[in-house]
């Protein structure tokens, strides 16, 4: 995975609570066997509505989604962050993320940024008033900076932060734990055998 560098991008406001992964990528798009062909399916049913925000010409340049509480709930499909990334999003900002979506996003370099309600509202206001305005996101200092200089910090667990900043992939990290895993297995015989 590429190291995640600081970036600036404009916002796409989607202030709806509980956006589930079936909306982000409907199940009928899950018959693929790769990760890269999902842009077409991203929010596809909502995009049928001409008034949907992703159809609004003012927000075509936006690469940061600002979405309502509990974003990414429902299905565990990692196709959701794959689809958002394929569509061009680099980060999602919300007041709260569902667990599996947050984990899946972190593993794909799609930054799930949790902010307080006040910052969330300030970002929505900014997106409404000045769609072209860019916010700056710096993972190292864990800050979102608005064009007026207002800063908000966001939490992230130290391990995910290091992985993202240094481009460490978790599978590679786990493979390096093999001596500990072998030691564990030596003292914990397999509980079941699926053959037979």
């Amino acid at each position: 995975m590429e190291p995640l560098k600081p970036f600036s991008a404009s916002l796409v406001p989607l202030p709806i609570e509980n956006i589930d992964t079936d909306q982000i990528i409907p199940a009928r798009y899950l018959k693929v066997t790769d990760k890269n062909s999902l842009a077409e399916g991203c929010f596809t049913d909502w995009r049928q509505d001409p008034n949907f925000i992703l159809n609004n010409p003012r927000y075509q340049a936006g690469h940061i989604l600002v979405a309502g509480h509990n974003f990414g709930c429902g299905s565990s499909r990692e196709h959701a962050p794959w689809a958002l990334k394929a569509y061009g999003f680099q980060a999602v900002i919300s007041t709260y993320f569902a667990d599996i979506f947050r984990n899946n996003s972190l593993k794909n370099g799609l930054l799930p940024i949790v902010v307080d309600a006040e910052t969330y509202q300030a970002l929505l206001d900014l997106a409404e008033e000045a769609p072209e305005a860019e916010v700056h996101i710096d993972l190292a200092s864990q800050t979102v900076t608005l064009p007026n200089g207002q800063k908000a910090s966001f939490p992230i667990d130290p391990f995910s932060k290091t992985c993202l900043l240094e481009g460490i992939d978790e599978l590679g990290y786990l493979v390096k734990q093999m001596p500990e895993i072998e030691a564990f297995e030596a003292s914990h015989p397999a509980r079941v055998q699926t053959a037979g």
């Binding site: 202030p15 709806i16 609570e17 509980n18 589930d20 079936d22 909306q23 409907p26 199940a27 009928r28 899950l30 018959k31 693929v32 066997t33 790769d34 990760k35 049913d45 309502g68 509480h69 509990n70 709930c73 429902g74 299905s75 565990s76 499909r77 990692e78 196709h79 709260y96 569902a98 667990d99 599996i100 984990n103 899946n104 593993k107 794909n108 667990d157 130290p158 391990f159 978790e170 599978l171 990290y173 786990l174 493979v175 734990q177 093999m178 500990e180 895993i181 564990f184 297995e185 914990h188 397999a190 509980r191 079941v192 055998q193 699926t194 053959a195 037979g196």
Partner: protein, 480 residues
């Protein structure tokens, strides 16, 4: 120190826990299906890694598989080219790595969360993962079971471990006794309506209390299955005699001296007296009525006799907007009752309610009735094993004689990626687990409910309180 059931299982599976890092957690059983695994196998192939423990792994086909009747050749026809590729990819991947795979229509194939328990692979105290959020189902056995993403599927295939931050605990205590016509499905819909779909995020549920203890294993699975709809990745129930009786004699259950040893271990798993939880919810089973959802997430539920809520009741603007949007999608008005609302489709199936006891209950309810004119009713067994059992008991004849469709095993209309789906604008009463927009087909509208409510609604052609029919028929709704 007193520990909860969850903490005991967690502690027993931590391989290592370096500072400032998540724990490396060992996985006892990895369940695989066709939809969330291909990219994980690709990842392994690119790195030249073989599955580390193929015989602690099992694969089935369920999501993208049709449930249409078999052809003259005895095979279930798959006509969707992408599904054909996806299913073939699963077989090729499993063969390459030596992972047992149950192919479409074969003896043990079925929904991943139905076959694990019925084969005796799901056992107390285990860690179980699958690239599917309803993996929480297996928690009914006192196993720590949760859904993972495809990157994590690759992690488990390669190392049999996962990186995990320890979740918090949440006790959901349900005491008392369910009234006639009220089932496990109504308990879990009531829990989710109570805490909301994000209420359990970051937590693992443990369901306790006398109402839970009196439930059958299959009813417990229905409850644990929907833990994720309350935001919790896992939901557990302490193992007891009901659990042991269910497991004993199943194909992968321990035998002989191993059985006694296993049961002795399983008896040590329940939460210690004095163990504490980070959060708690208490519900009274006696006061529960059949539940139904009116909106577009499983938290938008109510007693079946209540009326659709008014968005104006919310002071919070985003909550108000969410309900406005949901009611617009559902084409429902605030204050409207759902009882008597027209129904186009009734779906009995899914990893929530497709086991033999669900089908027995549904058959008992519909016997002597007909599916109302203009209503399509599908009954989709959760596995080939459930299907054979139902047919041995003649349940399929009851359904077919009533005018319902009797299908092959699979996820079917719960996920609408296999040919079984609603048409735009249709209303369904479904025993499945999600009523998200388009979940059962683009533009389709879902009322989630119990099998009893679903069947009662099929009979009357409108949303129906099953208690009216249960009373009329005076049969015992007993847990199996």
């Amino acid at each position: 120190m007193s520990k909860t059931l969850f903490e005991k299982i967690w502690d027993a599976h931590v391989v290592s826990h370096p500072p400032n890092s998540p724990a490396v957690l060992y996985v006892d059983l990895h369940l695989v299906h066709e939809v969330t695994s291909p990219q994980a196998f690709t990842e392994l192939r690119q790195r030249g890694i073989k599955a580390r423990r193929p015989l602690q792994t099992i694969a089935t086909m369920d999501h993208s598989t049709p449930t249409t009747p078999r052809g003259a050749d005895g095979l279930i026809p798959v006509t969707d080219a992408m599904a054909v590729t996806q299913l073939k990819t699963l077989v090729d991947n499993c063969n390459e790595h030596g992972i047992p795979v149950f192919e479409l229509g074969t003896e043990k194939q079925g929904i991943v969360h139905v076959i694990g328990p019925e084969l005796g692979l799901t056992q107390p105290g285990m860690t179980i993962v699958c690239g599917d959020s309803h993996t929480s189902t297996h928690g009914a056995f006192g196993a720590l079971a949760f859904g993972i993403g495809t990157s994590e599927v690759a992690h488990v295939l390669a190392t049999q471990t996962l990186l995990q931050n320890k979740p918090l605990t949440y006790e959901i205590r349900v005491d008392g006794q369910l009234q006639e016509g009220v089932t496990a499905k109504d308990i879990i819909l009531a829990v989710i309506a109570n805490i909301g779909i994000g209420g359990g995020t970051g937590h693992v549920f443990e369901y306790t209390g006398s109402a839970i203890r009196s439930l059958s294993m299959e009813a417990r699975m229905t409850i644990c299955n929907m833990s994720i709809e309350g935001g919790a990745r896992a939901g557990l129930i302490a193992p007891d005699e009901t659990t042991f009786n269910y497991i004993q004699g199943r194909p992968h259950a321990p035998q002989g001296a191993d059985w006694d040893k296993a049961v002795a271990h399983w008896r040590t798993l329940p939460s210690d007296a004095g163990a504490t939880y980070d959060k708690q919810l208490i519900l009274d089973a006696d006061t529960l009525a059949p539940m139904i959802t009116y909106g577009t997430n499983p938290g938008m539920g109510m007693s079946i006799t209540e009326r659709v809520p008014d968005p104006k009741q919310y002071s919070d603007n985003s909550q108000k907007m969410a309900l406005d949007k949901a009611l617009a999608y559902m084409d429902l008005q605030p204050g409207q009752p759902l009882l008597g609302h027209k129904v186009d489709v009734v779906f009995v199936g899914s990893c929530t309610n497709s086991r033999i006891s669900d089908l027995r209950l549904a058959a008992e309810m519909i016997k002597g009735h007909r599916v109302a004119d203009g209503v399509r009713m599908l009954v989709v067994p959760g596995s080939q094993t459930v299907k054979r059992q139902a047919e041995a008991e003649g349940l399929h004849k009851v359904f077919v004689e009533a005018g319902a469709e009797w299908r092959e095993a699979g996820c079917s209309m719960c996920i609408a990626m296999n040919g079984d789906q609603l048409q735009p604008g249709q209303y369904a009463v479904s025993t499945s687990n999600r009523n998200f927009e388009g979940r059962q087909g683009r533009g389709g509208r879902t009322f989630l409910a119990s099998p009893l409510t679903a069947v009662a609604s099929a009979i009357n052609g409108v949303v129906t309180d099953p208690r009216t029919l249960v009373a009329e028929r005076a049969f015992e709704v007993t847990p199996v």
